[in-house]
Every structure is written in C-alpha cells, then in structure tokens.
Symmetry: D3
Subunit: 252 residues, 6 copies
C-alpha cells in the first residue's frame, strides 16, 4: 500500500494543535498548527463599524491574511515593501472573512468590529484552511470577551462552528490535508469550509494543469468532511478550557 511521505494514511489529518492566548493584546489570539504549518490568528475588537455601516445597529467582521517573508521555503518579498498586496493574499483574506461571517449574527454584535488577522509564521501547505480553523477559535474567544464586557446585544452571536481543510489528488489518490510537498504536485486541489452542522460554507476545487471528473469531486468532499469532523472535535476540546486571560469585569 502507498504511504505518504510523512507516514499518514490518505484520509488522516496532520497533528493539529491550538494554543489559545498566544499573545495577550487581542481579545482572541490563537496559534494554530497543522503539522509544520503555523498561523497566528487573532481577533481584535474595536468600537464602531466602517462608515457605510454606521447607524445600522449591525456589527462587522473583517479579515486579513498574510505570510511573513520568512515563512516560506524560499524567503518571499514583503508585500508592504512592494507596496501592493498580491492576488493570492487578497483572495485568501476575502475567503477567511466570508467563511467566518457565515457563523456570526452581526446584529448580535452591536456596532462593534472584529478584525481577524491570520499571519503565517511557517508555511507547509494548507495555510488558508489552518487560518480559518484557528481564526474560528480566536473569534470564539473574542465573543466571550465581548460578552464579559457586556457589549453584545444577544448573548450568543455564534450560530455554529467553522473549520476548513484541504484535500487533493496526489499520485492519483485522494488525500486529506496536503503538506507543501504534496500540494505542489497535486493534480486537483480543493479547499472545503464547513460547519459542525454538516453544511458547507465554501467549496473551491481546482484542477492544477488538469481537469477532473465529477466522481473525483464527490470523493474529495467525502474525505474533506471526515477531516472537518475531526477539526470540530479538536476545536470543541480546546474551547472547553476557560478563557486564557483576564476577562473584563472579572475581579483583580
């Protein structure tokens, strides 16, 4: 039987860890690791919303994704130095924002903004899916913080959990959670964002210099949803621990 370079079976995730309270200024701060991929995901709360939303009574959630220059195998150029954001960065920032907005009731937030930042410290494939999965945990912490600060209009603005995973066809086999070594030579590459209610938020599948039959799409989805099930379990477990810092209003 073909094994993967890192010894995993085809439908096995890499080791997943979440470190809550990774930094202390933002209301939510999580270091998520999918194997060697490490992303610092933070959720910062600010009062007020963008101008086009003012007076609506609704909150807002925005997201930015970026890779540190030294996070990639070969150092990449810093986007602030180039003076422009690349298409890939833009695309993933939008995906993270859309994915997390699917689980939050913005009316319950009141006119507050939650800014999600996903900064990749080390990249080894699947950075966007790790970012979404980790950002959900940071978001949950920020919501807890807002609740403690009595700034929520509704005590439970989160309607479901969100996690994401990559799947792909490598060496002719459908595989889960691709590291860079597999991702860079995958024939088909798909990212799936799902909810713990078993529904889908976003599905993006691409043939990389190839095309794929619909049967492959089905198989990819099967494996992806097995993966997200395990991610939800991991998120639930880590969120069962208390908030990793001091909450507003708590005694000192």
């Amino acid at each position: 039987m073909t094994t993967r370079a890192d010894g995993r079976t085809d439908d096995e995730l890499r080791p997943i860890t979440f470190t809550r309270g990774f930094t202390s200024h933002p209301a939510g701060s999580v270091l998520v690791e999918f194997g060697q991929t490490r992303v610092m995901c933070t959720a910062s709360v600010t009062e007020g919303v963008p101008p086009w939303r003012r007076g609506s009574g609704l909150g807002w959630l925005t997201a930015e994704y970026a890779m540190l220059p030294s996070s990639t195998h070969e150092r990449s150029r810093r986007e602030s130095v180039k003076g422009k954001i690349g298409g890939r960065t833009h695309e993933i920032s939008r995906l993270v924002g859309r994915s997390l907005r699917a689980c939050i009731d913005l009316a319950a937030l009141g006119e507050n903004t939650i800014a999600i930042d996903c900064d990749v410290l080390q990249a080894d494939g699947g950075t966007r899916t790790a970012a979404i999965t980790g950002a959900y945990v940071a978001l949950a912490d920020a919501v807890t913080w807002l609740g403690a600060a009595e700034r929520l209009k509704d005590p439970q603005p989160l309607s479901c959990m969100i996690a994401a995973v990559s799947v792909g066809v490598v060496d002719g086999r459908v595989r889960l959670d691709l590291p860079y070594e597999e991702d860079s030579r995958a024939e088909v590459d798909m990212n799936v964002v799902a909810t713990d209610a078993g529904t889908l938020v976003e599905v993006q599948g691409t043939g990389e210099g190839a095309t794929f039959p619909r049967a492959t799409l089905d198989k990819l989805l099967d494996v992806a949803m097995l993966g997200t099930e395990q991610l939800f379990a991991a998120q639930r477990e880590v969120l069962a621990q208390p908030y990793p810092g001091e909450l507003p209003g708590s005694k000192q």
Copy 2:
C-alpha cells in the same frame, strides 16, 4: 409554478451570443453576451515569455479581468485612478487565467505569450463566467492566427473546450445563469468551469450569509453541467465560421 423575472425556466440560460472579430488589433477579439452582460474578450499574442520562464521552450498564458466604471448599475470607481486593484478583480483575473491554461499545451505554443483581456462593458450578473466562455473563443482564434503565422511547435495546442456558468439558490430554487437581480439576493452562489469532455476545471461555491447541504451542491452541479453543454454547442457553432479577419500568410 414560480417563473423567473425574465420569464426563463430555472435551468434555462439567457440568450448567448458571440461576436468574433469585435475589434481588429488582437489576434482574437470576441464580444460575448449572456443576456445583458457584455464582455469584450481579447487574446493578444506577443513574442517571448516572462523572465522566469525564458529558455524553457514553453509559452505562457496570462489573463486580466476588469470592469469599466460605467458597466455597473451604479458607476464604480476606476481602479487605475484608485491606484490599486481590488480583491475581487484580482481573484477573477487569476480564475480566468487558470481556467484557460487547463485547455492549452504551453509547450506547443513555443516561447510566445498570449495575454487574455476580459473587459466588462455592461454587467448584469455572471461576468466572470461570460468572460471565461468568451475568452475561450478569443483564444481559439489566437491559436488559429499563430498557426497561420507558423509560430506553433505543435499544430493543435488546444486539448479541449472551456466554458463556465453560474448557478445559485434563489427563492429556495436552484437556478442557472443568474442575472444581477437574482445574484444579489442568492442564498448560495456557485461558478463552475468545465470542459467539453465533461470534466471539471474549477468549482467555487459559496453560501452568502448562509450555509448549504451537500445535496444542494449536487443539484447545483447537475444544473451547471446542463448549462455548459449548451455553451459548448454555441461555441462550436460560432467557431465553425472562418477566422474573422486576415490571417498572416494569406494572399492580399
């Protein structure tokens, strides 16, 4: 039975037209119309390839998508004036490029670059899928032109046809080829890029402020692939006509 505002049935495309030779400087130039959506798609040939590809013997295909400021219902700001390209523009440009690279053998091109430009003259939903579908026709014309100019290494670099269509859930119903009026209130929105061999190139489905079960995904794909079948027929029909201009090497 619920009918759509424009009288179509749920799985019916809008009227599709292709005008080849819409402008005369580029090797391929096509005005594609999906109902009121009109996109000018051109394929310009230049000698040489980007620096990182020089000496490889391989060609390259790149694509840019943009909306004219006056193409939208409310005039939008010109990106050149803003000095930056928005995330959506970036994302679609990358999608168009990836989609068309799936059908072309870049080795057969030799060290030539084909630059695809998709400029939206009028937007009424589905601009990215119209762009891909029209750009395929422009690309086919550019390949014909390159062949006549004896600049191809292999006489037939195109391995299949490419078309794209949008599908979505509107008013709880799965519908094909959404105009703006439906797109702006769709619960689920999906773009499918397919080949005439029945395989998939790209699938992007998004819940818009909602999530969707996998059964919906399946239904959306069923309808989308009915749509692309009709688009391939339309492309075939228009490409059966001769090249709409003078080819290199033809008598004058």
Copy 3:
C-alpha cells in the same frame, strides 16, 4: 495629386457614427466611431458633488479617459495593474473635462455630478477628439434624463454643442482627422475643440520634432473648423432621434 492611404482627400473626415444607448446603465451611453477608432463614451449621474463644492448649489462634471490594453496596435500595459496613471491619460482626461464644462451651466445642474467616462475600445488615431465629440452626445442624453427626472434647476443647461477634431501636417500637407498611420509620422499635430457657435474652446498644436510657422497654424485651424462643422451636423442628426431608453417618469 497625392491621395491619402485610405483614399480620402486632405480635408475629409473619416466615416463618423454615433450609437446612442450603447449600454443601458448610464444616463448617457454612446459608441462613437471615427473610422476604425472606437470609443465608448458614457455620462453617469450621481447625486451630490465633491466635498469642496458642497452647499454651493452648483453641480459638477468630471471626466476620465482610458485605453483598454487591447485597443492599441501592440497591447499596452493596464494602468490599474501598473498602479499609476500615465501622463498622457491624465492629460487627456483633463482635456475632456475642461472641454465639456465649457458648454454646461453647472448652476442649472443643481448639486448633481455627471461623470464622463471615455474608454477606447479600438485606437486608430484621434481617440481624444473622438472621445470629446462622442461624450458631448452622451452628455446631452444625460441632461435629457435629468430633465425627465425633474432634477434640473433650469431646463436647458447646455449653452452650445462641443466637437473636436485632429489636424496635422503629413507629407508636407495639411490634413484633417489623422488615422494612426498618419498621426505617427505627422510633423505637426493639432487638436481643436470648438463650439457650434464657431468659437474655440481649446487649441493644442505641437511640432513633433519640428517647429511650424504661424501660417501653418492658420491653415490647420481653417481645416479643423471645416471638420467640426461636419461633426456638429452629425451630432445634430443623431440627437434628433428620441432618447434611446426609458426616461424616468415615463409610463411603463
């Protein structure tokens, strides 16, 4: 006698056409053709004026000119991708705006802004003069639309018609309406913007690597004004047709 490559006499315009209602979202939308030069000119109306003009009771008219990358003989780089607007683009945008502001009473507009967009679909010389001439027709339509919408303070804000034409010295002869083939080797190049009252709005004459006596300037102006006379006739004729769409307040 020397004839021009396209068979015209020295003081003959290329075939001129205006297609009103070329697109349907803007209040005015005109495709203007000066021979092979084709420019899409639109006039979009928005409520309000720029901050520095608010509360003045006066309207504003602004203009942007741009060339599509594929409009030129060799594809040119997209300015939004470069992240800056070139000097030529800037210069022509300013010229179009100044020219059209000469015919409109901004007080009569009330605090509305008309944004003129001139996007060159195909360039074959004279794009700036075609743009001004076509934009006048789009502007006239936008004014009709504003009148129907009862948003004008004065029913007739247009005080005259505006048209523009290029003239130049080519092969030692003064010629009207230069196509690219002549323009690129002209010794003197001049653009004249005039009103149907026979007055001038803007005169820009340049020796291209040469200088010219004042007698030449006089001759160039003579020919240019013959040209604008014909352009006014063409504008009048096309504007004699009814507004090419549905006006606000009309029965449905």
Copy 4:
C-alpha cells in the same frame, strides 16, 4: 486707460532675470525669475540612454517639473508624500520635455541623457513658461559642458533657441505674461512656445469656463510673439557671458 495692478501695459513682460550657475553640481543650473515667479532649472548629464533607446547612437532629453509645497500662496501637499503625481504636474513635465527636444539634435548628443529639472521655488503665475525659458538656458550650458568634455558627436547640437510665455484675456483685454492675480480670473489662457526663428513649437489655448473667437486667438498670438522676442534677447544677453563654472578639461 486701464492699467494692470502691477503698473505694466498690456503687452509688457514682468522683469526677467536669469542667474546662471545658481547651483554647482549640474552641468547647467539657472534660476529664472519672471517677476515674483522663480524657478530653479537644471540640466544634468548622465552617460547612457533609457533601455528602449540603447544602441541607437541617439541621445535623450527628459524633463520633470514640480512645485515646492511652500511655493504656492497656500501651501500645497507634497506629491512624494501623496505617493502620486497630479495630472497638472504630469502635463507640464511632458510639455517642457517636448518643447526642449524641438531645438536639440539628439544624434549630435551621442548616447548621453540630459535630465531637465524645473523646480518652482515661488509661484506667481506663468511657472510653466518661465520653466521652459529658463530650462533652455540651463540646456545651453549643459551642451557647452558636454562639448568641453568632448562628448558631443557634433559640436553644435542646438538648432535654435526656445522660449515660452503666457498670454490671456483678462477684464476683456489681451494681456502678456499673467501673474497669479490675473491668471486666476482670466477668461482665456494661452501658452505659446516659440523659437528665435519665429516658428512655433507648441500652442495651448483654453477658454476658462468660456469660449473665444478665432480673432482673439490671433491677437493672443501677436502679443505672445512680441513677448518671446524679448525673451530671446534676454537669453542671448545672459548666454553671451562665459560658462559660470569650471569646464571639464580646463586647467586647474
């Protein structure tokens, strides 16, 4: 009889001075004053030409115009801080370059580039015409310097002199060399660039919120050419003095 605020007659220039050798690093450096308008004009020589011109044996001349933030009546924002060059700056830079290229034989320069910089120290109307007039003197010095350095292919690359002046209609009268106070309320504004052979290089006339009959254009040109005659005399006089520094190859 109406007199102008500064006591001049309608066809009188402001006091004109040229200070050659104003700074010492560039090959040509001239402070030009048209009354209160003061522009530092320099001509810097560098070996080589831009990439698109290499190997042609031809030289190049380029020009940049800019206003210091504190040069205007109200301080204006610095363009380097804004991160973009405004349309007006672009337009004038191009005009200065075109005007000076009309008098120089680029083949005689060999593959050297002359960079003209016109930096406005104090603005009081007519900055672009002062810039061109002063830059000609700086250019003449740079040519002398190149000759002394034995870097010219032909000893006399300048075929004529270049000067520029503004004219306009103010208070219904045709006036020469408008200061800011007149320029800001002129009905017609024209800039004329001419040669000492009596020919024209560039004519730019604009109705400012008004239009003008051709007879006015003629009168404006008459007055402008009287003005440039006097400017040529002033240039000749100042250039009759020796080069204001040390020339290459001179004894030390």
Copy 5:
C-alpha cells in the same frame, strides 16, 4: 599639522549664512547655507490641526525634508516619480519635526498648524543639521507673524533656540561640520541637536562600518557643542533684524 581639504581647522564650522524672507508666501522662509550646502526652510501657517488633535486647544508642528533631484553630486531620482518616499527622507523629516517641537509650547499656538518644509537646493554634507538650524529661524519668523496676527494664546511660545551640527571621525580625527567629501569616508558620524540653554534634544551617533569607544563619543559631543554655540550666535544675530516682510495688521 593635518589640515582639512577646505583649509578649516578640525573644530571650525563652514561659513554659515541665513537669508530671511527668501520667498514671500510662507510666514517664515529662510535660505540657510552651511558652506556649499543650501537648504530652503519654510514655515507655513494653516488654521486648524489634524483630526486626531481637534478640540484639544493645542497646536501642531509638522516637518517634511526632501532633496531636489539635482541637489546631489549625481542627480538622484525624484521621489514623487518613484511614488514612494525613501527611508532616509522619512527619517530626517521625523528628526526635524521632533527637534523643533522641543522648543515650542503647542498650547500657546492655539489650534494652528505650522508646516516646516526643508528642501535641499544643493547638498554638500550636513543637510539635516543645516535644515534644523535654518528651520528654527523660519519658525521664529512664523511665530512673529502669528503674534502680529493676534493668533497666539501666549505671546512667547518659543522656550529656547534650536540648532544642529554634524561631527565625525575622519582620518582618525574628530572634526566638526563635515562636507560631503569628509562625510562619505567618515568612520564615525554623529548629529547633535541642542538648545541654547546647553541641553541636548537629540544625539545620533553611528559607526560607519566600524564601532567607536565611548571616549570618542565624549570628544564628539565636546566639539559639537562648540559648534552649536556658534550657530546660536549666528541665529541670534540674524533674528535681531526686523521681520523681512509685511506683518499682518501693519499699516500699508
């Protein structure tokens, strides 16, 4: 005994001159010369303060430093054309602002902003220290102007004088006020900003490809403070003259 190329002793300043009223639009305008280094320093007054300071009752002082392209030995590229400000420019602009804010009571200014512009006309080492020293004189004039206009809350907002000088180790010797020829090969380079009360505002010392013992630092400071003493004397002398223009409220 080793002498310097320009004949000065090690602890001697270059000839220092201040020309007040160098231009006439800004409230303060000074041309400062440290030998061949020439900087135009202006202080422009505008009503109001930046948004983040509004309503505080406090004024603001901001500063921008820039080099004209032709000011350097070899022409340098214009930062507005590059579209970004270099690190060195940024750094010096911040230094000038910080230095001058040390001597002014912003509460006494009321809600007015003073914008300092230091534009280098000719660079020969020590441009930043000349800029600070000259800008102090321009600031003093602007304060006089504000006082005459009765816009100060407190008649004397300046608490001390500010001057700056460079020192360095060249050829193993501690030297004052380095020209370019020494600066470009200095082993240690230091800029000292001081007050006439003998205190320090800013000390920046750098080993250039070398490091230096603390004893050297002490010696550098000794020499620098001898230099600033002389600069204060020169500033005092020039400021003893009356305001070089017309003050608001003065009879006409």
Copy 6:
C-alpha cells in the same frame, strides 16, 4: 525607594529569552523575548547580491522590521494594506541593518545575501532593541549554516557580538529596558547598540517634548552598557548550544 511597576530595580533588564530554531525554513530563526515584547528574528540566505554589488566578490546583509497588526495594544493598520511603509518602520529597518553590518565581514560572505526579518509578534516597549539583539543570534546561526554549506570565503566572518538596549528617564530616574508603560511617558529615550568589545555602534537619544543635560546622557550610557553586558552573556549562553536543526552536509 521608588520601585518600577513590574518590580524591577532601575538598572535591571526584563527576563530575556532566546528560542533558536523557532521556525525551520530560514538558516537562522530566533524568537527573542524581552519580557512581554516578542520578536521573531530570522536570517535567510540567498545566493547572489543586489545588482549594484554584483561582481564585487562581496556579500550583503539587509534587514526589514515590521509589526504585526495585532502586536500593539490597539490593533494597528497593516502596512501592506495601506500600500506604504511608515516612517518609523523604515527608520528601524535601516537601524537593524546598519547595526548588524557592523559585526560582519561582507568579503568573507562571498556573493551571498543574508536577509534579516524582524517581525514583532507582541509589542511591549523596546521592540527595536530586542529585534537587534535577537537578530544577532539568528545571524550567528545563518553564518554557521553557510560555513557547513562551504559557502564562506573565510570561516569566521563575525568580528564581534551585537546587542542593543533601551534606556530612558522616567519619573525623573534613569531606567533600563523600558516597557511600553514607561516608554510612553519617558522624558528622555535612548537606544544604544554596542559590541561585546565594549565599543558603540549606534547611540540615539531623544528628549520627548523635553531636553536633557549632558550629564544625563552620560548616566544613560552607563546604565545601557551594564544592560548590554548582560545581553552578551545571554547570547553567549544560548549560542553555546548546537545549531538547532540539520546542517548542510551532515549525515541523514
């Protein structure tokens, strides 16, 4: 006796830790912590040098410093999104590069470039001094890596160690290694970069809205150099451990 909020004495450093091998792609990767300030410092090696240095046989070292948006107490805007780098970022990037170039023999590097990246994960004062101190350790690891890869011309290109620390006057007392709470209200603020040979590389002292006597400068330096002594000890200790990864050429 006055104690500091965090219980330290005036001349006591915060707890200092270095985590070598923090990430695995760069040749050197160190997480440095000065109390709550945490900076990820990496040293990435690339073949070749910038164009202006090619063929010189010399290597190059460049540095970039940046703060993650969520690293500050209040989230700050991402510089890549703003499209420009702020003055402070520029200034510190230059300081880090200059400081590290003081200890390395670029000739010994051969034509290789070392890119230092200092990304602040959490900011609590002293980020620039922590960055320099941590970057030295990353640089030492990169040099070890280059040696193992047999890419050094000289086996020991590092001539000394480099560390940096902040000092300031807070509450009228000279204090070492200021956290944000002290830094934000310091009367004088100084950063000192030193070598383990007891010499200075860079001294930057600033009065913050105040000025300071020379005696204070002396005291600040005394305390700073006590601080750097301890930092050198800590660096030595951590570098006594073996290289935290696999070196090129080592057995697998």
